[in-house]
């Protein structure tokens, strides 16, 4: 073995670390700080007059309008109407989307017929179909729910059949080798295997659903957050208008949170 003490002294070149980064994490506090920071900055700009009250209201004014909205019966009426439309439309859209997606992912007939239709209709802005739905289902709840259901159906179909396509064929062969029926394979292998993609579809379709909900309520509704925002715009009540927008933000955050909880529970095996 070589005796290092007698070796000639040469300059050592330390090996630098080269494999850092590209590992994004979620730090909740940073997100919260950014929210608070931006709101505080807007407040300062509004109070100093840099941003005029007719351009953007001060966050404190929005907060006050939100408080007034909350203590009056208005919030419950508007939010209740919006939530019921969203719940019914979204549930119908994603349920049909999951069924169609699994059919396209597992059955040649459904794939051959369904895929071209999905590709053709997916790109249509669904709100453009609201006038037609009003003719079909009337100006009431039917047309709004149909718009939301139709809009949430397509991202769910696309994600679901993609998820089914990604289920390992070896797992399906394994199920067949043990004599599982087609229904058992769908229930025990295909559906759980596609579940991550289906939950991802929940997130996308919830966003699409909120957008369509607000747009539909702006076109024809007495109650609903979209209708409330439009009413405040016509009255030029920007603080109340923004209070309605904040309610939508909170709704979006809550839906994302619920889906994240659902993912944590259903995908705990990951």
């Amino acid at each position: 073995m070589r005796d290092d003490l007698t070796a000639p002294v040469v300059a050592a070149h330390p090996v630098g670390m080269r494999a850092s980064g590209f590992q994004p994490r979620f730090i909740g506090v940073l997100g919260l700080v950014s929210f608070v920071g931006i709101i505080a900055a807007i407040e300062v700009l509004a109070r100093s007059g840099t941003i005029g009250p007719l351009s953007f209201p001060a966050p404190s004014a929005i907060g006050q309008a939100l408080y007034q909205l909350a203590i009056s019966e208005q919030l419950a009426k508007h939010l209740g109407a919006s939530l019921s439309r969203l719940a019914v439309g979204w549930s119908a859209g994603v349920t049909a989307g999951i069924i169609a997606g699994i059919a396209i992912g597992t059955w040649t007939g459904a794939r051959s017929i369904g895929l071209p239709w999905v590709a053709a209709i997916s790109s249509i802005p669904k709100i453009a179909l609201l006038p037609m739905f009003i003719i079909w289902f009337g100006i009431g709840e039917g047309s709004k729910i149909a718009t939301i259901a139709f809009g949430t159906f397509f991202p769910t179909v696309v994600n679901t059949y993609g998820g089914v396509d990604d289920v390992s064929r070896t797992l399906i062969r394994m199920g067949q080798s043990f004599g599982l029926s087609k229904w058992a394979i769908l229930r025990k292998i295909v559906f759980p295997g596609a579940l991550p993609a289906i939950l991802s579809a929940f997130r996308i379709s919830a966003t699409v659903g909120i957008i369509l909900l607000v747009a539909a309520e702006m076109v024809s509704a007495e109650y609903g957050i979209g209708a409330y925002v439009l009413q405040q715009q016509s009255l030029f009540q920007l603080d109340r208008l923004m209070a309605g927008v904040v309610v939508l933000m909170i709704l979006g955050l809550m839906i994302y949170g619920l889906i994240a909880l659902l993912e944590r529970w259903l995908l705990r095996w990951r």
Partner: protein, 248 residues
């Protein structure tokens, strides 16, 4: 139960992979299938297990399956094929679920195979929490739980590291000896074939044909058997390699 393959031929499109392979696997026998890469070993096993329809030929069984057999021809997959969302116990139960067993019978079978494969302490673990060797033990446990007449093993140790492979090979030898199951064991590892099998069929390069059948006695020197198997497939493997290079 005896398994017969008669004149099996198969092609993927225009590419023939098997040509006129016939063999009989006797009850209680451990039959190895070796051959150069691409000679159709796994294809032959899939055909034997009813997972692939051959272009020509037939597969049949004779005799009565052993008592308690729920799935006569049971496959063990190279990459384990475990359901990641099920625990070890849930994976083992999967093959039993279609048969409407009583809760006691189901529990009895699961407990027995978990004990046989030393997985009792890991019954609640998910596959991602297990090492490769343990995952394959789960695959074996799932297969043994249905008390198969014939176990079809497709390179079951090839996805494992060398040490785990040696450990599992010893466990397989004990399991095969105690369970008296008929096994078709496809492998590219000649040491596995020499140590575990009673008889080894060497296939030629693609399209695979039976080139030679080697019987292995208990008293045979394993290293000599391994050398003999290598001498049989060496020229085929070299020729298959040359053909692959020429094709490029």
């Amino acid at each position: 139960m005896q398994l017969q393959l008669r004149d099996i031929g198969h092609a993927y499109g225009a590419l023939p992979v098997l040509d006129g392979v016939s063999m009989t696997v006797e009850a209680g026998e451990i039959l190895g299938i070796i051959g150069p890469s691409g000679c159709g070993k796994s294809t032959l096993l899939a055909i034997a297990g009813g997972l692939l329809k051959p272009s020509r030929g037939s597969v049949s069984t004779t005799g009565v399956p052993p008592a308690g057999c729920l799935n006569a021809l049971t496959y063990v997959f190279q990459d384990f094929a475990l359901l990641p969302w099920r625990t070890v116990e849930g994976n083992v139960r999967l093959g039993l679920e279609p048969h409407g067993l009583s809760a006691a019978d189901m529990r009895g079978r699961v407990e027995l195979v978990l004990a046989q494969t030393k997985l009792g302490d890991f019954r609640a673990a998910f596959p991602r929490q297990l090492s490769g060797g343990m995952r394959q033990r789960v695959g074996i446990a799932r297969a043994l739980a249905v008390r198969p007449a014939v176990l079809l093993m497709d390179e079951p140790l090839s996805a494992l590291d060398a040490q785990t492979r040696l450990l599992l090979m010893d466990e397989f030898a004990t399991l095969f000896a105690t369970s008296n199951t008929t096994v078709i064991y496809v492998t590219h590892n000649l040491s596995e074939a020499a140590r575990l099998c009673h008889r080894v069929i060497a296939l030629s390069r693609r399209p695979g044909r039976v080139k030679e059948i080697v019987g292995i006695g208990e008293a045979d020197d394993i290293s000599l058997v391994e050398a003999l198997l290598w001498s049989i497939i060496r020229d085929e493997a070299a020729a298959a390699d040359r053909e692959l290079i020429d094709a490029r």
